[in-house]
Symmetry: C2
Subunit: 204 residues, 2 copies
Amino acid sequence: MTKLDKIARLAEKAEAKSAKRARKKDELADHAITALKQLGYARTSLRDIAEMSGVAVGTLHYYFEDKVDLITYCVRRYKVGFVADMGSILEADVEPEQLADRFIKGLALSIRRDAETHRLWYDIRTQAMFDPAFEEVVADIEDGLINLVATFLSRTGVSQDQARPTYLMLDSFFRFHLQAFLKGDRDAPAQFEAEVSALLKRLG
Amino acid sequence: MTKLDKIARLAEKAEAKSAKRARKKDELADHAITALKQLGYARTSLRDIAEMSGVAVGTLHYYFEDKVDLITYCVRRYKVGFVADMGSILEADVEPEQLADRFIKGLALSIRRDAETHRLWYDIRTQAMFDPAFEEVVADIEDGLINLVATFLSRTGVSQDQARPTYLMLDSFFRFHLQAFLKGDRDAPAQFEAEVSALLKRLG
DNA sequence: ATATTTTTTGAACAATTGTCCAGAAAATTT
DNA sequence: AAATTTTCTGGACAATTGTTCAAAAAATAT
């Protein structure tokens, strides 16, 4: 075995190890999210998360620096997934009008299906107004969302410099009807769909 | 002294007493707000508030049921004041266009002047997604804000059924630029003014 | 099989939390 | 001036918090 072989094998090992560690982190994060989306940032303790994950509290600190690190990791992970999901809708090769329809329907569906998870995002976004530790993750995610809207607009033939105002408009309606849905209004997603659809036509 | 006189005087006393109590509540609430707007709901302890108010912790519980009662009282008090302030702008007898200009300028000014207080509102509004105890106060305030926008629209000659979408639009821009301002972007209020002004012309 | 490293545990720690309450202080009534 | 009521105090309470760490357990390497 040459020296190069040894080095290569060592690198392989190191990579496999960090990959395994990453998998475990994600596994823990997924359990953490189920706890966080139920109670919110401030009300969820590391013990809640540990119990939900079936591990001891110390294990969490073995994988995550501290609570902020753990929570930002969770929010980032889930929101990246959301942006990817919505992005895949935009890949379909259909008429602009139908695309807009599908996109809005996708958002409405996400209110219905992932309401509890989305409120965690709003929780963290608000925390960032008080705690600079959350500023980075919030800015990153918000950039991703604006970017998502930008590709949506480019696919429907609208100028991309409308991305931020459009994102803000979508976000405010999304937030409002999410709130209504969480309060028990089962029709909120449908209303979101109708209202946003109308407003989008008015603007486009 | 007749019996009626006695009753009248008793009623007077009772009213004076509850008025005094109400004044003290407001005084405590004002101090509490200065603490809350700096740290946010979850991070502010009753001891922080007591220290800020120059009273003992027990005194807070003498005037308020519990922490939730105290905080909802504070948020309600400050937001009612804000709505009243903005409402007084709408009383001016000027051209619709100038009125819109003044209204938006008033909002931009409030970002500059009351940034820390406004973030407390967003904090409580988000908490309401997790804790039903905040649902009522949030719904009340949001109704008040939509109402404010409704009178704004009626004064500028726009259909009132656009109140909610317009409120949501204003809110999202307000929130976004408030966030930017809190992160250190001193131009955020001016940008808010420009962007909202443009969008409003596009819609009206 | 043994040695080494990685992973996990859960008890211990100090700090903080909201709430309660007996008694002091102040205000009001008689 | 005495009695009564209202207001306020601040220590005590139990519960909970994030974090640390020595030791055990498990996995991996020799």
